[in-house]
């Protein structure tokens, strides 16, 4: 584990360091580019802090081992990229249904299929939201720097523990593989899951306004039944319409009610915007450069950077759409978050798309040119 202070590290290493600081003591994974360095670092560092590193036979096994470890009491995570993320979807759906806290990191590469295995993309953003089967609400964070790989991994664990839900960290091949300054603080804020306060506590039901039940663990003396089938508050299976509706409603509500707490974004130069660039992850970096360049040229341009993809910041986007003339969505895919922005802006302003496919980032000039064109 790195000491508190300044370091020059790889994004993936910052992620692993953040996880260990957040209390992660169990990692199960499977080799895949460009997420490997997270595994490498965990395999070296976890045994030193009394944690456990497991390399599994595939990604299905990886997510399943993480779920098992979480119910055994460990803060657990896995890391992968597109093809592995696809294989994990059944397990992620199970985590939603059983309200199992865990963190899944997707260092996105360019698909479909093997695609450009060594090159970055932001193509899995819809898979994060809709990839698993069934009805659920997703929490997905998206870092734009090595520092945020560290910070948001810690936040991912805290949110997972607080809301008893899987949290996705949607990094990309650029952020995973760049080396940058990382400042590690002496102390980080850590949230732990709410443990059962009494023998009568219900592991899958609660009267608490947060809608998040307390979590018993294996070996604590509870007759614990954990099942992906529809269950009552006690965990007993009951697939009746009433209990299914109640359960799905509650696991969605616990996230929906906390939307304003979870949702996170950052604005730059948004005082008097005519053109607002909306971006996230690696593409927010050249977007920032382009907006600065536009400002120097006297154009009223601003940048709105998403730090959570889901829940989506509908209200903020609506507000921007009302204030600005045009919104430009910059992303490394064929135009996905674009549709969310269109939906959230409800026709209040024109929404333009600057997609990019091919495994390379936009250049500052490309985005600057789009701003100029939108301006005229």
């Amino acid at each position: 584990m790195l000491k508190a202070g300044k370091h020059l590290v790889l994004g993936n290493v910052a992620c692993a360091e953040g996880a260990i600081r957040a209390g992660c003591r169990f990692f199960a994974g499977y080799p895949i580019t460009p997420a490997n360095e997270i595994s490498h670092h965990m395999s070296i560092e976890l045994p030193k802090v009394g944690g456990f590193y497991l390399q599994m036979e595939d990604e299905i096994a990886s997510i399943s081992a993480v779920l098992g470890a979480s119910w055994a009491g460990a803060k657990a995570m896995t890391a992968t990229s597109g093809p592995g993320f696809s294989l994990m979807q059944e397990g992620i759906s199970y985590a939603h249904m059983t309200e199992t806290p865990c963190v899944v990191v997707d260092v996105q590469r360019s698909g479909p299929s093997t695609g450009q295995a060594t090159m970055p993309s932001q193509m899995d953003v819809y898979q994060a939201k809709y990839g698993a089967h069934g009805d659920y609400e997703v929490v997905a964070l998206v870092p734009w720097s090595v520092q945020e790989m560290f910070d948001l991994t810690i936040r991912a664990f805290n949110l997972a523990e607080k809301f008893r839900t899987p949290v996705l960290l949607m990094a990309d091949g650029v952020i995973g593989h760049i080396m940058e300054k990382l400042v590690i603080p002496e102390q980080v804020e850590i949230v732990d899951r709410r443990r059962c306060s009494s023998r009568e506590a219900m592991p899958f039901g609660t009267d608490d306004p947060s809608r998040v039940p307390e979590m018993p663990l294996f070996g604590e003396g509870y007759r614990l039944i954990v099942t992906g089938s529809t269950h009552r508050e006690s965990g007993f299976r009951d697939e009746s319409p009433k209990y299914h509706a109640m359960l799905v409603k509650r696991i969605r509500e616990k996230i929906l009610k906390a939307e304003s707490e979870i949702s996170d974004s950052v604005g730059y130069y948004l005082e008097d915007p005519k053109i607002v660039v909306i971006s996230y992850g690696a593409t927010a970096r050249p977007s920032f450069g382009a907006v600065k360049k536009a400002r120097k040229g006297g154009l009223e341009a601003g940048l709105f950077r998403l730090r959570t993809l889901w829940p989506f910041p509908d209200r903020e986007i609506r507000r921007l759409a009302e204030a600005a003339e045009k919104l430009i969505v910059v992303e490394m895919n064929s135009g996905k978050i674009l549709r969310e922005v269109e939906r959230a802006s409800r026709g209040c302003s024109e929404v333009l798309s600057l997609p990019k496919i091919g495994g390379v980032l936009h250049s500052v000039d490309e985005i600057y040119k789009a701003i100029m064109e939108a301006y005229q």
């Binding site: 499977y30 080799p31 895949i32 580019t33 490997n36 595994s39 490498h40 395999s43 070296i44 045994p47 030193k48 590193y53 390399q55 599994m56 036979e57 595939d58 093809p83 299929s113 093997t114 295995a117």
Partner: protein, 324 residues
């Protein structure tokens, strides 16, 4: 079986062309090329994700002189199953592009990750359904393509990026998965181990595998100079030592009259007959950087002798099964 002499093989055009991007000294190319030399005629290759797949198909070239399909990581055997079933259906109906081929050599290539780990389910399914194809396990004993991570095929104590050697961990803590026994337990017509240091043995066994009526399995040990950390010119030396130390014996197993028949191949049979020619496993470990920590800073006699014990035990078991 129709014999294939070295001369005939040499005169046959290569089905895996030169100019691919595999590393200098890579054992995979040597083996894959020789196996393809044994093809009888119409051939289709499937490849799981891995070094062979990546390096033989980099734009704007392909090294494959036969139809080739790269599937995902886990499903080379499943893709081969589909090809074989479609070919059979076309033969039966006498319709479709494959219907005119009386024999079709369908060869699935996968690495140790794609076989021991993620691909085991697809392999087991294909063997159980009995498709007529040859599965080639290119065992370089780690995930070399993604940066040398340990696999179920990585030997005990070997250092990889996810089984680091240090104070807390002494390299890989688990033993190599006995994949041959798992495959042979499926009661398939033919299984064999092969090694690039013995080319005639490779040709002979490959032809037998392709001619087998049903699934056949070839387990190839393919030393990797990058991952095992030895100079690329020593590939054949390392391969040969694997046989001479009996850590990777050469044998074949046919399933006849309801039971498996093991037979040691001549390089290993010679050692069985003359036990004093069996070399200590230390000789094999010492020339590979991935076992450096067994010799430096201090000699880990405990680990080396437990590896020797494991090798001896498995060698004795194999000899018993082969009736030697």
């Amino acid at each position: 079986m129709s014999d294939l002499t070295l001369k005939e093989a040499a005169l046959k055009p290569d089905l895996l062309a030169s100019g691919h991007r595999l590393c200098a000294g890579c054992g995979e190319t040597i083996i894959a090329r020789m196996i393809l030399k044994a093809a009888r005629g119409p051939t289709i290759a499937t490849s799981a994700t891995g070094c062979l797949e990546v390096s033989t198909s980099i734009y704007p070239y392909t090294a494959w002189m036969v139809p080739w399909i790269h599937s995902a990581f886990e499903n080379a055997a499943a893709t081969a199953s589909g090809i074989e079933a479609a070919w059979r259906a076309m033969r039966r109906k006498q319709k479709g592009p494959l219907s005119r081929y009386e024999t079709l050599d369908i060869i699935a290539f996968a690495g140790d990750g794609g076989t021991y780990d993620i691909g085991l389910q697809a392999l087991s399914g294909a063997l159980e359904r009995g498709h007529d194809f040859t599965y080639v396990l290119l065992d370089n004993e780690a995930y070399m393509n993604t940066g040398i991570q340990r696999s179920g095929g990585t030997p005990f104590a070997a250092e990889t990026t996810t089984s680091p050697s240090g104070k807390a961990v002494p390299g890989k803590k688990e033993w190599k998965k006995p994949i041959d026994e798992i495959v042979i337990a499926h009661e398939i017509p033919y299984a064999a181990s092969i090694n690039p240091a013995y080319p005639m043995d490779v040709l002979r066994k490959s032809r037998k595998a392709l001619e087998a009526d049903g699934p056949a399995f070839l387990h190839a040990l393919v030393p990797c100079s990058r991952g095992w950390r030895f100079p690329p010119e020593k590939t054949i030396e390392v391969s040969r030592l694997a046989v001479q130390t009996c850590i990777f014996p050469l044998y074949e197993c046919r399933f006849l009259e309801g039971r498996p028949h093991y037979e040691l191949s001549s390089p290993s049979l010679a050692i069985a007959k003359k036990p004093e020619s069996k070399k200590p496993v230390e000789e094999y470990l010492r020339i590979q950087g991935r076992f450096n920590h067994l010799f430096r800073p201090e000699m880990r006699v405990d680990l080396i002798s437990s590896i020797q014990e494991w090798v001896d035990n498995r060698w004795e078991m194999l000899k018993e099964k082969s009736g030697v």
